[in-house]
């Protein structure tokens, strides 16, 4: 049976207003009146809302508490279109400002940023050099730079580019020098980085960095949820804040076999700006978690609590370099068979270390400890959740919201390490574990020697299943050679 509306003839009247609308719209566009998007806002974590609803607060309604937390977060971190760290009174007194700016960079970073800018703005700098100021095109992700250029510098260079910027200060040079300097020394503001984040990162990581962007449902593993402040592939101790270098490293290298690609083609300045912004999102999420906990325990939210927690999170991030992990001696370059055997014994030990209980006897990541009773299905087992998943489950979120937070220990036979396959990377993973996962730090009785034995045992497993090796073996088989004797390989191994 046809839908009733399809059999009725379309009324003719609405056409006319529509036409008038189109005409008016075109006229507005022609006059430069573009439609403006609504002001962007960060939303609260669904975990926060569930926690507040389940908390049975006496003095305040969950919606009010949520609004208070959201307002507090907006005060501390701003909005996506205008993100900004709140400057505390004592920081201001000590001349500290957590917001990024070029004059707060250390010398080495500033030099790298400048070098990157010379490539990024090569065209602009070339045109400035040639004196063709009016033709300088607008670069991407540099709105504040562009505003500075069009409002302050461009009118000056167009009228007289040889005039001094400040006649009393020779060092500042002419306006032409200033024009080049504006581009060369550019360091992105949080606003510019947020814009870049929204174009390059948001579709996976989400507006708030919750790992819930529009493409995230199609990805395995899930994109990182920054909001708990936990990052897996870092060079700091387990569950501490990452250093800037750790975040930058991931941006430069990507994460192998995940949807996180390397962004090395962007300039150093752009990437440093993204690091600034990811730090803001992660801190925002952490403060949100702490404020939710405070509301739950105290029953209300006070201004003092907000500022205390903000300061607490900042201290944690400021201390990140102190938690850096490295090895004092030389990294062993190869392992004797006894060392690998020792590593194997440690790996298989079910009392201490217990690697095998999760990674499985063949290192396939299928040990029995990764299973637990499924609370949603009687008598069924499910994969254990990681810390992100556990926190969501504890907050009372439904089962569907836990998807993608299952634990999956590394399968060494895939011969891939997401956080880097260098010996020192594996040393860090084994010695201090992986933040947010069930991979713990090594037991205290493990000496560095034990850890290196484990590293080389794992690398040995990986070597055995390397694709290039397997293909070699297959070719050897086809050629009638024994699979174990290498083909015409250069000497060495």
């Amino acid at each position: 049976m046809p839908h009733p509306s399809t059999s009725r003839p379309l009324p003719r009247r609405p056409l006319r207003p529509a036409l008038v609308g189109i005409a008016l719209g075109s006229l507005a566009l022609a006059c430069g009146l573009e439609p403006k998007a609504a002001e962007l806002r960060y939303s609260l974590n669904e975990k926060t809302i569930a926690e507040l609803e389940n908390a049975q607060l006496e003095d305040v309604a969950p919606a009010t508490a949520a609004a208070q937390i959201q307002g507090a977060l907006e005060m501390l971190f701003g909005t996506p279109s205008d993100p900004q760290f709140l400057v505390l009174r004592e920081w201001y007194d000590n001349d500290q400002n957590p917001n990024p700016a070029k004059w707060r960079l250390d010398e080495e970073t500033f030099a790298a940023v400048e070098e990157g800018n010379r490539r990024r703005f090569a065209l602009q700098l070339e045109l400035i050099e040639a004196g063709r100021y009016a033709e300088v095109p607008q670069p991407r992700y540099a709105d504040d730079l562009w505003a500075d250029w069009t409002e302050r510098v461009l009118p000056q260079v167009l009228s007289d580019d040889a005039a001094m910027v400040d006649p009393s200060d020779e060092e500042l040079g002419t306006w032409k020098d200033e024009a080049a300097y504006v581009f060369e020394s550019h360091y992105p503001t949080l606003r510019e980085s947020s814009r870049m984040y929204r174009q390059q990162c948001l579709h996976c990581h989400g507006t708030e960095g919750g790992g819930d962007g529009p493409t995230s449902p199609y990805l395995s593993p899930r994109p990182r949820d920054y909001r708990d402040g936990k990052f897996k592939w870092v060079a700091v101790e387990r569950n501490t804040a990452p250093r800037r270098e750790d975040l930058l490293h991931i941006l430069m290298e990507g994460v192998n076999t995940t949807a996180m690609p390397p962004f090395a083609r962007f300039s150093r300045g752009e990437l440093e700006g993204l690091v600034d912004y990811v730090r803001l999102l992660a801190m925002r999420g952490q403060v949100e978690n702490l404020l939710t906990a405070a509301v739950k325990s105290e029953g209300y939210l006070s201004a003092a609590t907000v500022l205390e927690n903000y300061q607490f999170v900042w201290e944690r991030w400021d201390k990140a370099p102190e938690r850096y992990v490295y090895f004092e001696d030389d990294v062993p370059r190869e392992a004797a068979p006894e060392m690998i055997e020792h590593g194997r014994q440690l790996f298989l030990n079910t009392k201490v270390g217990q690697c095998v209980t999760c990674h499985g006897p063949e290192g396939r990541g299928n040990g029995e400890s990764i299973w637990e009773l499924d609370p949603f299905r009687d008598g069924k087992m499910r994969r254990r959740l990681d810390e992100w998943g556990t926190a969501r489950q504890d907050a009372g979120l439904p089962e569907a919201a836990l998807k993608g937070f299952e634990t999956s220990p590394r399968n060494f036979q895939q011969a891939v390490f997401r956080g880097g396959g260098r010996p020192i990377d594996l040393y860090r993973r084994i010695k201090y574990g992986i933040s947010g996962t069930i991979m713990p730090a090594a037991p205290a009785e493990f000496s560095d020697e034990d850890i290196w034995s484990l590293v080389y045992f794992v690398l040995h497993l990986v070597e055995q299943s390397d694709v290039a090796r397997l293909i070699d073996a297959k070719v050897a088989l086809e050629e009638g050679r024994s699979a174990h004797e290498p083909a015409a390989q250069p000497s060495g191994h």
């Binding site: 290298e253 390397p262 250069p490």
Partner: protein, 282 residues
């Protein structure tokens, strides 16, 4: 009136077509850049001349027939649409004409087929690189390029392998043979500046090679300072994925860094040191 408009439109198409063929700079998207010759970036490989020649041969053929077809078309549109009392002639076809327009393209196709064989054999046949040492692996993956070098022991899959994301670093000294693989779906390894294009097929290991012409490299490369203070030379060009490989296809851009011999050795040494770095801050 209509007759004139249609004729003018077709003539405009003809003029535009010929114009675009000869004047690329007006139609190249993006800022006008140095390093472009006619429609393509200048070639820095030793073997790219053959490919460019093929391109020119096919281009000229297309141009000639484009002009020919349009002249006939415009003539037909203009001539046939005039008011006339004459009755239209009816034809069952012209055997000679049909023979002609079958034979001419066939000959042209044969010319293309035979003239490209040599180039194809030199670039793609495995015989050209039989027995050569495999010096790197390029691995395509949604959505990045990763590269692996066998390190000092010359064997892939050992602890001293050198890994590089995004940047494919190659020396300019001689033939550089490498393997191309894909981890997931079809990708295509495309370096316009090196006239190199090859699909990466999951499950297949495809041997490839490239060779940078030292003179052309010398003309375009830039000086860089090496760690020991000496001067090396570097040329960075685009590596793109030329096969729609999924939603992040546009992200899949890499770079080929061609380095002079000393710069490549310095890079290798640096990477080897980094491989066994203990992470101690300086």
């Amino acid at each position: 009136m209509m007759r004139l408009i249609v004729t003018a439109l077709f003539t405009a198409l003809l003029v535009l077509g010929v114009w675009t063929f000869f004047d690329s700079t007006t139609f190249l998207l993006g800022p006008e850049r140095a390093g472009y010759r006619w429609w393509w970036p200048t070639d820095v490989s030793t073997y790219g001349g053959g490919i460019d020649l093929l391109f020119v041969v096919i281009g000229v053929m297309i141009l000639v027939f484009f002009v020919l077809t349009y002249v006939v078309l415009i003539g037909a549109v203009f001539g046939a649409s005039r008011k006339s009392e004459e009755k239209a002639a009816f034809t069952h076809g012209n055997h000679k004409l049909e023979l002609l327009w079958t034979a001419v393209p066939a000959v042209l196709l044969l010319i293309i087929a035979f003239s490209q064989m040599q180039t194809w054999a030199a670039i793609k046949f495995r015989g050209a690189i039989a027995g050569e040492e495999i010096r790197a692996e390029a691995i395509a993956e949604q959505f990045d390029w990763r590269f692996r070098y066998p390190g000092t022991d010359g064997v892939f899959g050992t602890v001293d392998d050198i890994h590089s994301a995004t940047d494919f670093v190659v020396p300019v000294d001689d033939k550089f043979v490498f393997h191309l693989r894909s981890n997931d779906v079809l990708h295509s390894f495309f370096v316009p500046k090196l006239r190199l294009k090859q699909d990466a097929v999951p499950g297949m290991t495809i041997p490839m090679w490239l060779e940078v012409d030292p003179d052309r490299f010398a003309r375009e490369a830039q000086a860089i300072e090496l760690a020991d203070g000496s001067e090396g030379r570097e040329l960075v060009v685009d590596l793109i994925c030329a096969e729609l490989c999924g939603w992040g296809h546009y992200k899949m851009a890499g770079r080929v860094r061609m380095l002079s011999k000393n710069a490549f050795e310095a890079w290798m040494a640096e990477q080897e040191a980094l491989r066994f770095d203990n992470g101690e801050p300086e």
